[in-house]
């Protein structure tokens, strides 16, 4: 919302004392709840250097057909010579002269110049050059626009006779404050925030029942839907459509509105002051003289005045005349009944609509006009009378209009009378804010906002009384409860110097991270410690990602959750596996020259399946993804580190050959107890190739399953004071005997002295029969109470060898 300061100054006394400048007003609004987007300067940047001049002579330039050399009296001792290119410049005109030194709205500085050899000291301005209108075919002849132009002394500052440059507050009006979508509402805020005196509303005293009655000959309005809460109409005859006066054009321009013609400008001007949209019909283009406000039928068509053909939906509201829909209620008029240059009779509609209905319509059509934006908030039905009063005065003054008949006022039950007062307990205010505000101060603050305040028991002790607060119509959307009044008190009287306090935690536990949260930090730290960089990828991916991973349509990992209105096709679905974002990040870095990508990510993945934990919603779980440009064993080592950090023992890898994105010979399930908690392996070369990656190994772990299993501690085995005994064994087994099986047999045979047995090498090749592998085992034995003898060690060794031979036909390697 753009609020030109001079216009605001007509509604609230900014002249002081103390005088309030734009920055002060903006600051006070900012700290009381009306945020300033920016402070703009509208129009000529040096307004004092633009003066009224009289053209004494306008002679043809000797060397340029299109230029005139003018002598202009600008109030100086000598007339100024100014070269002017406008076709309409003529001797005798009263004009606006930007004297040397003027900085124009676009930043151009007026300098002494020579144009085709002729000196030029200044510029005679067009309306558009001054930023006060659209007209730019010629210079602005003030004598055609200002009634007493001839009497203005040359040299008078233009701003003294025609305000043309202004400071403009561009304010962010929050959705709860539709009253501030009108300048008078902002003026009231300025008054409350600064103490400046609010002037009477421009419609004051003119909003009572119309003495001319509630009928207009030849016109009738019927409201058939409760979505119209009030519909008022007045008829104006003898209207002369033409340009608006310059002062109005200038104000509209400063407020960001284009001038159209006097009738349309009046509706916009009044909307800007009151916040209430208006619509002017050409009364002679209302077929049958009858308007019916009703809900549209699905599929009905209407051409709005922006010449767009619109198809309507059931529940949206249209205004019919005898020929069908003629206006999209509350959003935009129809082109059929639009005011035009030849219009002589205007029917002025000012109506109040159900906010959500208008919002939905505007939303669906992408048509947030100035009117729709305001109507979508749900305005007070009382505002219609304000707008009719002010618009009537302006149409009579500016368009020569004459009122005919009374004021049609129908629809809704909105004027049911004032709501009950809100009871505001003094103690409640103090308890919520942590600072007391006594009733006298509350009364003072609320009255500056136009609230009515009654203290039913002025003798009540401090902290025990209550006020009865009457909310003015324009605030009734927002202020309906005690707490809403507390907010008004807080923003105007409390927040600026509230003493901070710290609350007491009454929950008798210390605040800590949960075990799962601590476990996740350990996982992250373990991987960082192994030299991996954490990345944060997108939750979004494209619908084709599952296909690029090679997943068949039926694969649960391929059932992605889709967005209804994605920003782009690249971000149309939610990632069904964290592998997608890891591969994307790896590719991004590889194409930028990274040759050893070692990354991990934790994040949420989504599937279009019911989540067992909340069956109404899609499945989502927290995943860990690890990616290195290396082989399976590299990533298995990292998994070992992760699960070690989680103190999780007893996990296994089981080979898988049917996961589409994994190498069929180098992939595995991560198994914990009876559950599969993840996948690990080398990315299928075909898939890796689609991301432009060389050999890449990944580990995907379901953190929702893994983290809760991380114990806070595990049993401690005493290290003992006696040394362990170590020996290595090389055994040759058939290829299809897994290392895991070999170790299981060795463990089973070793007995209680075994501390640990691991595989430290696997060898195939020279000296080993085809189809066999030599596994090098490292065995550690220990007794808590003695140093083991060679004999004891030998016994265990023989037991292991014998068991391996018996169970899997293992032979000792030479």
């Amino acid at each position: 919302m753009k609020a030109p300061l001079s216009w605001l100054g007509e509604l609230v006394d900014l002249a002081g004392p103390p005088a309030l400048d734009a920055e002060t007003v903006a600051h006070r609004l900012n700290v009381t709840g009306t945020e300033l987007d920016r402070l703009l300067h509208h129009g000529v940047r040096t307004p004092d250097t633009v003066v009224v001049g009289r053209v004494l002579a306008a002679d043809q330039h000797p060397d340029a057909d299109r230029l005139r050399v003018c002598r202009v009296d600008v109030g100086a001792d000598e007339p100024s010579q100014i070269v002017c290119g406008a076709p309409n410049v003529a001797a005798g005109q009263v004009v606006a002269v930007a004297t040397v030194g003027t900085v124009m709205p676009d930043g151009m500085k007026i300098k002494r110049a020579k144009l085709r050899g002729q000196a030029s000291h200044g510029m005679i301005c067009s309306a558009r050059e001054l930023g006060i209108g659209e007209q730019h075919e010629g210079i602005l002849a003030l004598d055609e626009h200002l009634p007493d132009a001839a009497a203005i002394a040359p040299g008078t500052r233009l701003s003294d006779v025609l305000p043309h440059a202004d400071e403009v507050l561009e304010l962010e009006v929050t959705p709860n404050r539709p009253d501030c979508l009108g300048l008078y509402g902002i003026a009231r805020e300025v008054s409350a925030a600064t103490g400046a005196a609010l002037r009477p509303a421009p419609w004051e005293g003119e909003t009572g029942p119309d003495p001319a009655g509630d009928a207009i000959d030849g016109f009738a309005v019927r409201v058939d839907t409760p979505r119209c809460r009030r519909f008022t109409a007045r008829l104006f005859a003898d209207v002369t459509v033409g340009p608006s006066p310059l002062w109005m054009q200038a104000r509209l321009a400063a407020a960001g509105q284009r001038s159209i013609n006097n009738v349309v400008d009046v509706t916009n001007y009044v909307m800007l002051v009151t916040g209430q949209p208006l619509h002017a019909f050409d009364a002679d283009r209302i077929a049958g003289g009858a308007l019916v406000v009703r809900e549209a039928r699905d599929g009905e068509a209407l051409t709005t005045l922006d010449e767009e053909a619109r198809t309507l939906r059931a529940g949206e509201v249209v205004i019919d005349d005898a020929d069908g829909p003629t206006s999209l209620a509350g959003v935009m008029g129809g082109d059929r009944s639009e005011v035009h240059d030849g219009t002589v009779r205007v029917l002025l509609e000012v109506a109040s609509w159900d906010g959500p209905t208008i919002h939905r319509t505007a939303q669906r059509l992408g048509l947030f006009s100035e009117a729709a934006t305001r109507n979508a908030k749900g305005l007070a039905p009382e505002q219609t009378a304000w707008a009719q009063a002010l618009a009537t005065r302006l149409l009579v003054d500016l368009a020569g209009a004459r009122r005919v008949g009374g004021t049609i006022d129908v629809g809704g039950d909105a004027l049911a009378g004032d709501p009950d007062p809100i009871v505001v307990r003094e103690a409640r205010v103090a308890r919520l804010l942590g600072a007391p505000v006594d009733r006298a101060r509350q009364t003072e603050l609320l009255r500056t906002l136009g609230f009515g305040v009654v203290d039913p028991d002025p003798t009540a002790a401090e902290g025990e009384g209550a006020l009865h607060v009457l909310v003015p119509p324009e605030r009734r959307v927002d202020v309906t409860r005690e707490i809403d009044v507390v907010e008004e008190l807080a923003r105007l009287g409390v927040v600026a110097d509230l003493t901070p306090t710290l609350p007491v935690r009454r929950r008798l536990t210390a605040a800590t991270l949960s075990p799962v949260q601590r476990a996740r930090r350990r996982v992250e730290d373990a991987l960082v410690g192994r030299g991996l960089q954490e990345v944060v990828g997108w939750s979004f991916t494209d619908a084709g990602a599952a296909g690029r991973l090679g997943l068949a349509d039926g694969d649960p990992r391929a059932s992605a959750v889709r967005l209804e209105h994605p920003l782009s096709e690249d971000q149309a679905v939610l990632r069904p596996t964290i592998l997608v974002s890891l591969l994307d990040v790896a590719r991004h870095n590889r194409t930028r020259g990274a040759d050893d990508v070692r990354i991990f990510e934790t994040g949420t993945v989504f599937r279009d399946q019911p989540d067992p934990r909340r069956p109404d919603m899609p499945f989502e779980h927290a995943a860990l993804g690890v990616l290195v440009q290396d082989d399976l064993f590299a990533v298995k080592g990292l998994l070992d580190a992760v699960l070690g950090a989680l103190r999780i023992d007893g996990w296994e890898l089981e080979p898988v050959d049917d996961v589409a994105f994994l190498h069929p010979g180098r992939g595995a399930r991560i198994v914990l107890g009876d559950d599969v908690v993840g996948l690990l392996g080398e990315v299928h070369p075909t898939v890796a190739d689609r991301w432009g990656l060389p050999r890449t190994a990944v580990c995907l772990l379901d953190l929702d399953q893994a983290l809760p299993r991380a114990p806070e501690r595990r049993p401690v085995r005493p290290v003992g004071q006696f040394p362990d005994a170590r020996f290595d064994l090389a055994v040759v087994v058939a290829d299809d005997v897994s290392a895991r099986r070999t170790l299981e047999i060795a463990r089973g045979a070793a007995g209680p002295l075994l501390e640990d047995v691991t595989v430290f090498d696997a060898y195939r090749g020279t000296g080993i029969a085809d189809g066999h592998v030599s596994l090098a085992l490292h065995v550690r034995l220990r007794a808590a109470d003695r140093t083991l003898t060679d004999e004891e060690i030998g016994t265990v060794r023989e037991a292991i060898v014998a068991a391996l031979a018996a169970d899997v036909g293992a032979t000792l390697r030479g």
Partner: protein, 374 residues
């Protein structure tokens, strides 16, 4: 014989003193004290002497041998140290050559900042909880007192999920956005972490004091807005939690993150789920809240706070009674309990704290950049 011993001893000691290498000393040891050397031979000849001469001669010969032995030992120690020193000096390396590379890892900046924020609030007495990223319209908007026409519900401001064929239908609020063919959109990607306010109150009795870090989504995309970003929600409900408490907590937070000297300012605002609502500005840490860079020549206007001295960091307020009522549990009767809520953007804190002016690189994950921010 005694003279002979004395002479041998003196000659031996002279030779030892003159030796300059451990090898030469070893030769001397063999030559002077070895099996074939003169002195041991003399010692062996002692038994051939007359008995009265044997004692003094044997003693002298032994003493001579010991003197030479200890002279050699001493000399070896000295020479060996010098030799070692020479050898080690010859092993000199260029210490300016690089070390052997270790893989270097790091946390993403967003995780770092998230942990910092979590740790600050843990210290202030908040538990840390997390919640789902897909949400119902009910939890994201309705239960948080968003009017049916609140603009945040617009599909231009919220990612709705396309209707699913496998999920049960959810009740749709009147006026909910619809699909192109009119079906209601009832599920969405949470636009803020605030739905967790409701979920926590649904499952736990007051008092509650929690923060909720997590990923949220809005359809914006420019230098300072990405369609996914991260927030930390805060909620504290008890019988007596005030707006002054909110100020105290957030002042403590601001000082922990932005420096001990920071002040905060409560600026009234509007949020549907808090009443009163305030935005929190923190005094600018770059210019000390003056609006001008007194540390830079010419004291130019501070670019971070745009000369205002204040930086907006988050939105907050007292939990609206309608939100407490919507929980639907007597324990949250707004006449009995009250409290505050706040929500901040982790990216915003990270940008302010680490001087970033563009968010997008955080999601591009260029390792060369992440490494610097880790």
């Amino acid at each position: 014989m005694l003279d002979q011993i004395t002479e041998l001893q003196e000659a031996g000691l002279r030779a030892v003193a003159a030796a300059t290498t451990t090898d030469a000393l070893e030769e001397l040891r063999v030559g002077l004290l070895g099996r074939k050397a003169e002195l041991p031979n003399l010692l062996r000849g002692v038994r051939d002497l007359p008995p009265d001469q044997r004692g003094p001669a044997g003693k002298a010969a032994n003493e001579a041998r010991q003197a030479i032995q200890s002279a050699i030992d001493e000399r070896v120690a000295t020479v060996a140290a010098a030799e070692l020193d020479v050898r080690l000096r010859a092993e000199r390396v260029d210490v300016t050559l690089p070390g052997r590379p270790e893989p270097v890892g790091g946390l993403h900046l967003l995780t770092r900042v998230r942990r910092q924020i979590e740790d600050v609030f843990l210290g202030l007495g908040f538990d840390v909880v997390e919640g789902p990223e897909t949400e119902t319209v009910h939890h994201n908007f309705d239960a948080l007192n968003h009017a049916p026409n609140h603009p945040a519900r617009d599909p231009g401001d919220t990612f709705y999920l396309a209707p699913s064929t496998v999920l049960p239908p959810l009740p749709a609020a009147a006026g909910a956005p619809t699909t192109a063919d009119g079906g209601p959109l009832t599920r969405l990607l949470r636009t803020h972490t605030s739905p967790m306010q409701v979920r926590i109150m649904e499952r736990e009795d007051p008092p509650v004091a929690v923060i909720v870090p997590g990923r949220v989504y809005r359809p914006d995309s420019d230098a300072t807005h990405t369609p996914q970003f991260h927030q930390v929600e805060g909620l504290w409900i008890d019988v007596d939690i005030t707006l002054a408490d909110l100020k105290g907590v957030l002042l403590s937070f601001a000082r922990a993150i932005f420096g001990e000297e920071r002040e905060i300012r409560l600026r009234p605002h509007f949020f549907p789920f808090t009443e009163p609502s305030v935005e929190i500005d923190v005094s600018c840490h770059l210019c000390g809240g003056t609006g001008h860079r007194t540390d830079v020549a010419g004291h130019p206007r501070c670019g971070l706070c745009k000369g205002t001295g204040w930086i907006e960091i988050l939105g907050s307020g007292m939990v609206d009674p309608n939100v407490l009522t919507a929980v639907g549990r007597p324990a949250y009767d707004p006449e009995r309990v009250q409290g505050f809520a706040f929500g901040m953007g982790i990216e915003r804190i990270a940008m302010l704290r680490y001087g970033l002016d563009d968010l997008r690189p955080l999601y591009e994950n260029d390792l060369r950049l992440l490494g610097q921010l880790a």
